[in-house]
Amino acid sequence: RKVIMADDKDVLRDVWFGRIPACFTLSPEETTEREAEPYYLLLPRVSYLTLVTDKVKKHFLRVMKTEDVEEMWFEYEGTPLKWHYPIGVLFDLHASNTALPWNVTVHFKNFPERDLLHCSSNSVIEAHFMSCIKEADALKHKSQVINDMQKKDHKQLWMGLQNDKFDQFWAMNRKLMEYPTEEGGFRYIPFRIYQTTSDRPFIQKLFRPVSPEGHTLTLGDLLKELFPAAICAEDEPKRFQVMIHGIEPLLETPIQWLSEHLSHPDNFLHISIIPAPSD
């Protein structure tokens, strides 16, 4: 019998190689020696802003004085962008249904301490990423899989993400996606639900892929329990969009399948719930 794991490589590749075209402009508040040209970049949806913007930083530093430069941070239409959310989540949450490229404003001053975490180096991102993976595996396998891995395996996951090596990453990540057949799925699904309309950073609860009665639970079941407002009756106008990786999966999609195929590299299923466009 086939090993139980992500059984559809195309989806995994599409998810991994998702790119968002972004246009980085320097904030007008910044003082420059000469006018700063915008910088265009294809951002990997599954990566982190501060991990993939070295080029942006270099680009703008050329027109700035070193004394004017503090830690770089990003903002979109007034909202500071949390680098520790995957890029795709930030985009889905704040900029879905807007014209592309995504206009991101770059700041080097006035770091919004209340909203953002500091990110002094890539090791901070790595620590964050690895802690997410560990948390996810604690939910999925009581940490058994991640603890069985060696240090170099952990490194391989991180290096895979950092260098955009799909094969390198998945050679290891597939182990995190396995589960015993008879259990029908992970112990709990690692997921986070984000919304713009609330102050809570995200919703996260224990949720099993299979009901006590043995039903396969779906995205709809998850939302019914955690965000009922996202599910509308047939006759109602749609109030919310439920976005994962920029798409809206059907509510009957099994949550286990989603977790295996549409999770970010940090092994969490990041679900963005945004108000439906009014048109």
């Binding site: 086939k2 790119r19 050679a171 059907l250």
Partner: protein, 1184 residues
């Protein structure tokens, strides 16, 4: 793995079987009788019916059970009549057996029972020891008894000839009564029966032990049951020291019986010389005062049930200690218990009479983990639920485009609904659902450790598999699920009963849909086989109420093969696992889950998203540059210059994006020479061959480039561990493929080869070796159809996928990769020398071989230090003496010889001073690969019609030889879609022969040649596309004094290899006389030959000169093969080392795709073979 059957009898005496691949109990309808007991093994099932007679059910096989009767006609010469049947009074009978002692006229041969039939009339055997005789089949001698020859001489005074006739067992797939021939000694009827013992001996083939208990408590043993005598001959009484009520016999030598008083008897002395055993030993009941009522034994386990329904496990039982060491109480209340293959356990619950399976039984934890109820419906019930469920599905929106077809199905089920209602207004899924809750097996994890030690944590950490969350009681699953599944059907029932309304499916659409969302997976699985809809009418025969779950009386798993990786669909036949199982479903068709709307939606949206977010922005810079990826490691390298030695090196593979975007790489080897750091490198796009090299002490592999092949000097490297070597090979192979832009499955023209370690490599004629890591000692291809055979003789068909095994996670296609298992034996030899004082001992001479060694005696191999062939293989048995050694053995397995090394024989003579015996231990491989198993007949050789690439043949001729030597012709193999199910064929057709065969090959115009086990060659006449099996065999004399071993037929050429390594070419083969006239010697030291569809000749040769230490198993190609010169003129020696099998039969390249540099122009006879994959060698023979 082929499916196998679990047998059970319900309380009404009806016999059912459940396939490991199935999801319902199939009623064994042909039995009009009611049964009390069944005992199953893989090939048959024995039973006691309520009429107290014993019945046998032999499974039909595509290879019939046939028995060869023979008798000899004897004649003597006299001057008057010449040879005549007038013999001297002192002579033997005119018709006799081979010894002449028994009178056997043709007319005296009777069929042993009415279950046999004659295949044809008597005929004369014209084959004498592998040589054809003259017409009439006479063999001559000076006198009886003497040595016979096929030629008549001046002093030949007597002659004889052999008559043969086949009888065939016809009572297959049906219950037949075993006549109780000894009525006087069988005064009372049978009460219990058990069958086993098939692992004790392989001689005679299919030998079984059958034990029975009569009502008076006597024990009987059925003699002489084997493959050729499935019914056995007589009952023999086995004296017992008490009154026996029940008996159980395992696959090996365990036999236990229950005494009336509740104690147990253990049979001792059971062995290959004495299946019946010699004596009984008593074992006390586990519970004082409460006697045993039932016992069940396996290979290394004994389970018992006491009067209070408690279940007991016997510790420490094995072949050497059949009594075991102690009882352990288990959880659960059962009425009976049965042990099947691999010591898996089935039981029938006391309260609910349901069949339970013991979960988690492994070789290391024989007592298992938990009882799990087998909750599948019986076939009659199944039709109800599936009919309603499938119409339900059609009402849903999943298959919107097919509403017509589906509603037809639901019309059918309307008829069904009638019968259903006739049975009363009941829940349409009358399964375990509304059964009284099975109170007994409450604990989810009750391995005996947890029963003895109440430390849960400790127990969990012992488990290999993460245990099920203890908070969910397992046994709650099936019931609730079933209820849930039942409910939509109930909803539909009213509209079905009002079935006149043709619109109903539209009306119910919404309703059905809401139910579907509650459990789509379950319905999908339900309807995955729509054909089950057609079985509805069987329900009419159900005399009993359907609202109760089946109550079982007896279960037998002796023929049911379940292993730890086997996935059974027996337990949660509903929602929770249905989704999973459908996603993993191994059928080649698309599973419902894959077509599910949500899935399509995700695919579509993702591609829309990519378009939206990326299409217009591809000119943007990528945030992450595709940098160089380096993999480093340490390895040993066989130094290129003298003195050659292994030196430690750093090894690095750098991969980067090449000019046109395809990946490329460079291989670096950093070494130190005279304290100076140096390196050498190799471009991945120049690498032509990667091959693991057989080496006892190191894990080595060789890398060839065109240049290095020319120099006959590959780069040889050794990794620290086998695993590391496989990692590197996989990585290098992938990067080689990447650099050449090879992706996906191998093409039709690929050359396939197998290493001595059983890994398969595929070489594209123009490109690169791609390793496919499945061990298969034999593979044959044509027209994109690829079949292979495992060490355990299992046949596999290539699915068109690629990767698997050590490719996992790197470059596997995820479709069409299946789990593969293989079993083979590892052999070691125990050697002893005789000395006058102590006789044979393990004290050898100082010059002698190791007392425990490999076959050659050169390497020490003890029981402890001998490991499975690679880490992927694991031991699955203990060391046992192997009696099936060529040359025969004595009763203890010894073979004798005058000295080491010499030829060994099975009986001791005065001249013998040494002896040896072979020990075998089975090991098993579980891996994955693009191969699918072809059950059920084990094969030893296989051949497929070779063809040019342009020809389109609908029906591909495929012939095979079973591991017993039967010749088979596969029907229904087509090449329409390579790697699809059409390659799989439909069934085997048995082609009758007079002796067992070992090699077979079919040529391009259906010339079928075969080699018998006695070394003689045969040609099959009249084989054509219209008559795929041909009509008769022509015996072709072998080259003088040689026994042939292997044959390969190309377009017209016929080549054979004999046992002494000679390669022979068949002369005079013409379309009008395809048998040819004589054999011509071509070469020696040849191990295997493969002739391609253009008559290309490739061999695996030994002792190839000048190939350094890699001389064993070198691939060579015949040069100068032209249409008018099919023999060629010389050899081109190629890749050395470790090849075991090659097939070029799919390689029909008409012209070279790439014109290679002038290397070939100035070639000499000994010019090294470029590589196996250079195109000119395929093109040359015909391109000129």
């Amino acid at each position: 793995m082929p499916s196998s059957l679990l047998w059970a009898v319900d309380v009404y005496g009806r016999v059912y079987s459940l396939s490991t691949a199935g999801q319902q109990w199939e009623h064994c309808r042909d039995a009009h009788l009611e049964f009390k007991r069944v005992t199953a093994v893989q090939q048959c099932c024995w039973s006691i019916a309520c009429d107290h007679n014993i019945y046998l059910y032999v499974h039909a096989s595509e290879v019939p059970i046939r028995y060869q009767e023979e008798t000899y006609e004897n004649q003597r010469w006299n001057p008057v009549d010449g040879f005549s049947d007038r013999l001297l009074p002192s002579d033997r009978w005119q018709w006799s057996d081979i010894t002449g002692l028994k009178h056997q006229p043709l007319g005296d041969f009777q069929l042993p029972s009415e279950n046999w039939e004659w295949e044809a009339d008597w005929y004369i055997d014209e084959n004498f020891g592998g040589e054809p005789t003259e017409k009439g089949g006479w063999t001559y001698a000076i006198d009886f008894p003497a040595t016979y020859t096929k030629d008549k001489k001046w002093n030949s005074c007597v002659r004889r000839r052999r008559w043969i006739r086949y009888r065939r067992y016809k009572a297959q797939d049906t219950w037949v009564k075993i006549p109780s021939e000894q009525t006087e000694s069988l005064p009372d009827p049978f009460n219990d029966i058990t069958c086993g013992g098939w692992e004790i001996t392989e001689e005679p083939r299919g030998c079984l032990a059958l034990w029975a208990v009569s009502l008076q408590g006597k024990v009987w043993f059925r003699c002489d049951i084997n493959h050729h005598n499935p019914e056995g001959s007589v009952w023999e009484e086995v004296p017992v020291p008490g009154e026996v009520v029940q008996i159980s016999c395992g696959p090996g030598d365990l036999v236990w019986a229950v005494l009336w008083e509740g104690h147990l008897l253990v049979r001792e002395g059971v062995g290959r010389d004495c299946l019946k055993g010699s004596s009984w030993v008593t074992v006390e009941s586990p519970s004082p005062g409460v006697g045993v009522v039932h016992v069940a034994v396996g290979v290394n386990v004994v389970w018992a049930v006491t009067k209070d329904h408690k279940v007991w496990f016997r510790r420490g039982v094995n072949s050497h200690n059949p009594c075991g060491s102690g009882w352990i109480g288990m959880v659960g209340e059962m009425v009976m218990i049965n042990v099947g293959l691999s010591d898996q356990v089935w039981a029938i619950g006391f309260e609910d009479r349901a069949v339970y399976f013991r979960q988690g039984v492994t070789a290391s934890e024989l007592s298992g983990k938990a009882w799990k109820v087998v909750s599948v419906p019986r076939d009659s019930e199944r039709s109800h639920s599936s009919a309603s469920a499938s119409s339900l599905q059609s009402a849903g929106c999943f298959f919107g485009g097919e509403v017509r077809l589906q509603s037809q199905a639901s019309m059918l089920s309307d008829a069904d609904a009638e019968t259903e209602r006739a049975g009363g207004e009941v829940v349409p899924t009358p399964e375990i659902g509304d059964a009284p809750k099975p109170r007994i097996p409450k604990v989810t994890s009750d391995s005996f450790i947890s029963e003895l030690v109440s430390d849960r944590e400790g127990q969990i950490s012992r488990c290999d598999v993460p245990p099920a969350g203890p908070s969910i009681p397992e046994e709650d699953h099936p019931e609730k699920e079933l209820e849930d599944r039942a409910s939509p059907a109930q909803v539909l029932s009213p509209s079905q009963s009002g079935g006149v309304d043709p619109q109903w499916s539209n009306v119910d659409l919404e309703e059905a849909q809401t139910h579907l969302t509650s459990g789509p997976g379950g319905d999908a699985a339900e309807t995955s086989s729509l054909s089950s809809v057609a079985t509805y009418n069987l329900a009419l025969e159900e005399p009993y109420g359907l609202d109760e779950p089946p109550k079982w009386a007896w279960v037998s798993g002796g023929g049911c093969l379940v292993e730890c990786h086997t996935q059974l669909n027996w337990f949660n036949s509903s929602t929770s696992t249905a989704l999973n199982s459908s996603m993993q479903a191994m059928s080649l068709s698309i599973t419902p889950a894959q077509t599910a709307a949500w899935r399509k939606q995700i695919f579509e949206q993702l591609s829309e998203r990519s378009k939206r977010e990326m299409e217009n922005f591809m000119h943007y810079e990528q945030a992450i540059e595709q940098s160089v990826w380096v993999k480093k490691g340490t390895m040993q390298w066989w130094r290129d210059w003298k003195p050659h030695k292994w030196v430690d090196v750093q090894f690095a593979l750098e991969q980067f994006s090449g000019v046109e975007g395809n990946k490329d790489g460079i291989l670096f080897i950093y070494y130190t020479f005279n304290d100076e750091k140096k390196y050498l490198h190799m471009f991945i796009n120049e690498v032509t061959i990667l091959v693991p090299v057989l080496n006892d002490s190191k894990h080595t592999f060789a890398i060839y480039t065109a240049e290095r092949t020319k120099q006959r000097w590959p780069m040889r490297l050794a990794a620290a561990t086998e695993l590391e070597m496989h990692d590197w090979l996989a990585l290098l192979s992938v990067s080689c493929c990447d650099s050449r832009g090879i992706q996906g499955p191998p093409s039709k023209q690929a050359i396939w080869s197998v290493t001595c370690k059983g890994d398969i490599f595929v070489s594209e004629p123009t490109k690169e070796l791609e390793a496919s890591p499945y061990p298969t000692p034999c593979a044959q291809i044509s027209l994109g159809v690829v079949w292979g055979i495992g060490y355990d003789h299992t046949a596999w068909v290539h699915t068109g996928g690629y990767g698997g095994g050590f490719f996992q996670g790197l470059a596997s296609s995820t479709d069409n990769i299946y789990t593969q298992t293989d079993v083979k034996s590892v052999y070691i030899y125990e050697n002893q020398r005789w000395n006058p004082v102590t006789g044979y001992t393990n004290r050898g001479l100082p010059t002698d071989r190791y007392m425990w060694s490999n076959a050659s005696g050169l390497k020490e191999c003890t029981k402890n230090n001998t490991k499975p062939p690679s880490p992927n293989w694991t031991w699955v048995s203990d060391w046992t003496i192997d009696y099936a050694v060529p040359g025969g053995t004595d009763r203890e397995g010894w073979q004798y010889a005058a000295d080491f090394p010499a030829s060994y024989h099975g009986n001791k003579t005065l001249k013998d001073f040494v002896r040896r015996r072979r020990w075998a231990r089975k090991c098993k491989l579980t891996t994955t690969g693009p191969w699918q198993e072809v059950p059920p007949i084990p094969l030893s050789d296989i051949t497929i019609l070779p063809c040019g690439p342009k020809s389109t043949v609908e029906q591909v001729s495929l012939w095979a030889i079973s591991n017993k030597g039967d010749i088979l012709c596969r029907l229904g193999v087509t090449s329409l879609t390579p790697g699809s199910s059409s390659n799989y064929g439909s069934s085997w057709l048995h082609v009758g022969t007079d002796q067992p065969f070992k090699s077979i090959s079919i040529g391009a115009v259906h010339q079928v040649w075969a080699i018998a086990k006695d070394g003689s060659a045969f040609y099959r006449g009249s084989v054509s596309a219209q008559n795929p099996a041909g009509d008769c065999w022509y015996h072709i004399p072998s080259p003088t004094g040689q026994k042939l071993k292997q044959v390969s037929v190309g377009r017209t050429s016929v080549y054979t290899v004999d046992e002494n390594g000679n390669l022979w070419y068949r002369h005079g083969v013409t379309p009008s006389y395809p048998q040819g006239s004589s054999w011509e010697h071509i070469s020696n030291n040849v191990r295997k030959v493969s002739v391609g569809p253009l008559d290309q000749v490739w061999v695996i040769a030994d002792k190839v000169q000048g190939s350094h230490s890699l001389s064993c198993g070198t691939v060579c190609r015949r040069l100068g093969v032209l249409p008018m010169e099919p023999k060629g003129h010389s050899w081109d020696y190629g890749i050395g080392g470790g090849w075991d099998h090659i097939t070029v039969r799919g390689n029909a390249m008409e012209a070279p795709r790439i014109v290679m540099p002038s290397l070939t122009d100035n070639q000499t006879a000994t010019r090294p073979l470029q590589t196996s994959n250079q195109p000119e060698m395929n093109g040359n023979p015909v391109g000129c």
